[in-house]
Symmetry: C2
Subunit: 385 residues, 2 copies
């Protein structure tokens, strides 16, 4: 069953948000959505944290002006969250929050900088996973939620889920961290950096102040998104989906011998994804979010010792990885599990044999969803109806 | 021992070279170098084929105007080729040829199109691995070499080595194919395509006719090279070389919180590589060479059956792969070996446990060089002194 039409809300905050960099964000708005009902003792709240290009719109559909469902408006994790779904909105009160710096409703680079009266652009302060967690905590405060039944996230969202257990240990009972890592590898940072260079060196970027010029650094955004898509898919699933198939030709046919036209199906797919992304995503947000990924490293302030970093957590954990995910490989999840085991924390770990690479965390795989469902049933038993 | 100073030569060809696309290349020059002495019965010649950004300058040093060795002018495979080296120039006559379409001396996009009197630019005809092999064969004809003792190449050079055994089966006795593949995977093509898009969408590319505008699409070349470098290195070696180290800071220090400045060592490395590459490499050549990679697929005309394709080979083979090469993984080399075994061809296969990824084929690894040395000693026994 689907949630049907859901409606986003916003909260405005006058008190400045101190940021890890030393800067602060003042006079900001956060967009959020909630699904299901908060129970009487406010113990069934689950926060869902989003990754790079997602938002507070986690599940359900948005409405057109006439009240009808907007086509293709399904939330990004609608297969996971809803009535009777693995994270069951008949039992849990689910919250999605758009992170500051993003471009889907919360205050970000496209919004007005109160210090200048002009759009922030590249002057939007650098935000980290820790800053996002603190911003999310303020939304929970406003909703009267002292403690979360669980925090759930995949990829960059999983980093936020982990960080919740360290920044606010008493406010989270369970952490479900999917397809994530305790920090980025050099290779992960390298891919982010190439994507950022493509954007920053696009002449239409104008040092991040392209809004004033009425242009968008589309070329850079396209290249950034194409790189991203390669890293989201496994080598095998790319091969199965596209192989060496030529556009408009039979297998075995000679190609058209062109260096600039599309020849292979995989090129057509990537160009389409790049074009689509450049239509809606903000270039400054791309820089901010990839940097938040780069910077996340809870072990840094513990001499690189992740076990020492995870000592302060009080939550119970479910960690999930996917065999073919080469962006955040199972080995990275096992680092998290080891650090939790070192601390005698309660941790369950599932390594799902799935062909889809990093993308698997967004797909409807019965074994994966089965694990999440079972874990949330366990949590539901601890929660009063 | 090093070869010392070596001198490039050129050959001019008046007869047009028919190309796989149906076009032809006319009035062209090929640059080449040779090392060692051709023996009396001309049976000790070894052709070395180059990959993307390499050239005919395989070994030895180039001279300055004053006759002294030019600093940093070592050939790209100097650790492999020279007196007493694995491919021993005291025994073999080694030939390196710059492929047409490249930018190091042979006719390419920066040269004058005889049809227009202007630089070819993007109008340089699309060249394939098969075209390069035919061009190389003409150089051998001119040098009076009927049959090669061996053809040797790594990566894209390995594809040329394989293709030699299919296009000119009687002209090659041994094929040494290192870190290569029987065709590109969808993921390989995808990385090439992103690099090409970065170049083609750089406003300074001018549809490939940037020479007339006095500019170079440096931004695109930089991004292309950065992507390339990520795929040349293994995840592990990147981690070992750079990890999460910050530029100008101690480990554990906070970063400077910037989205555009260099923070991590790996960023500094990639930007440096990108800058250096954009100083010397031709953008149209980049498009041509990555397309030659994309198109190579000897099985295509055999219904995708590589064993059927390899049936026509008469050479003996040495195939070498590296465990951490994720660009052309050992699995791809094993496909080649299987196709050769299916045909009862004489094939030796070495899978070298090396940490360096695809780059390993250019490095001086004792086990790797030991295998190549042993194989060339075997070939030397078949050759009259």
């Amino acid at each position: 069953m689907s949630l049907g039409i859901v409606t986003p809300a916003t909260l405005h905050f006058e008190a400045p948000l101190p940021l890890q960099s030393g800067a602060q964000l003042r006079d900001y708005t956060l967009a959020y959505e909630t699904y299901g009902q908060l129970n009487a003792d406010r113990s069934n709240a689950v926060l869902v944290c989003h990754a790079l290009n997602a938002s507070h719109h986690v599940a359900g559909l948005h409405a057109c002006a006439d009240g009808q469902p907007l086509p293709k408006s399904e939330g990004w994790w609608d297969n996971m969250i809803g009535p009777g779904k693995p994270l069951d909105t008949d039992r849990f009160f689910v919250i999605g929050i758009n992170n500051p710096g993003s471009c889907f409703g919360s205050t970000g680079p496209t919004h007005t900088n109160p210090d200048t009266g002009k759009p922030y652009g590249a002057d939007f302060p650098v935000v980290t996973v820790e800053d996002w967690v603190n911003a999310q905590a303020r939304v929970l405060d406003a909703l009267g939620i002292t403690q979360l039944a669980a925090v759930l996230g995949g990829s960059l969202g999983g980093m936020q889920a982990l960080s919740w257990t360290l920044q606010h240990p008493t406010r989270v009972r369970h952490c479900v961290a999917v397809a994530t890592a305790p920090n980025l590898s050099a290779q992960n940072i390298a891919f982010n950096e190439v994507a950022r260079r493509a954007i920053v060196t696009d002449p239409d970027f104008h040092g991040g102040h392209f809004y004033e010029h009425g242009v968008v650094p589309r070329r850079g955004l396209r290249v950034a998104r194409m790189i991203g898509h390669i890293t989201y898919l496994s080598d095998d699933v790319m091969e199965a989906k596209f192989g060496r198939e030529l556009v408009g030709r039979e297998l075995g046919d000679a190609p058209s011998y062109s260096t600039q036209d599309i020849e292979f199906q995989v090129e057509s797919y990537l160009r389409y994804q790049g074009d689509k992304f450049s239509d809606y995503f903000d270039a400054n947000t791309y820089l901010l979010i990839t940097r938040a990924l780069d910077y996340f490293d809870p072990a840094r302030t513990h001499g690189g010792n992740l076990s020492a970093a995870m000592a302060q957590a009080l939550a119970k954990f479910l960690v999930i990885s996917f065999t073919t995910d080469w962006r955040f490989s199972p080995a990275r999840s096992r680092e998290i599990v080891k650090a939790l085991v070192d601390n005698r924390h309660d941790v369950s770990y599932a390594e799902i044999d799935a062909p889809h690479g990093h993308d698997a965390f967004l797909l409807d795989d019965p074994r994966y969803h089965g694990v999440v469902r079972a874990y949330f049933e366990r949590i539901a038993r601890e929660v009063k109806a």
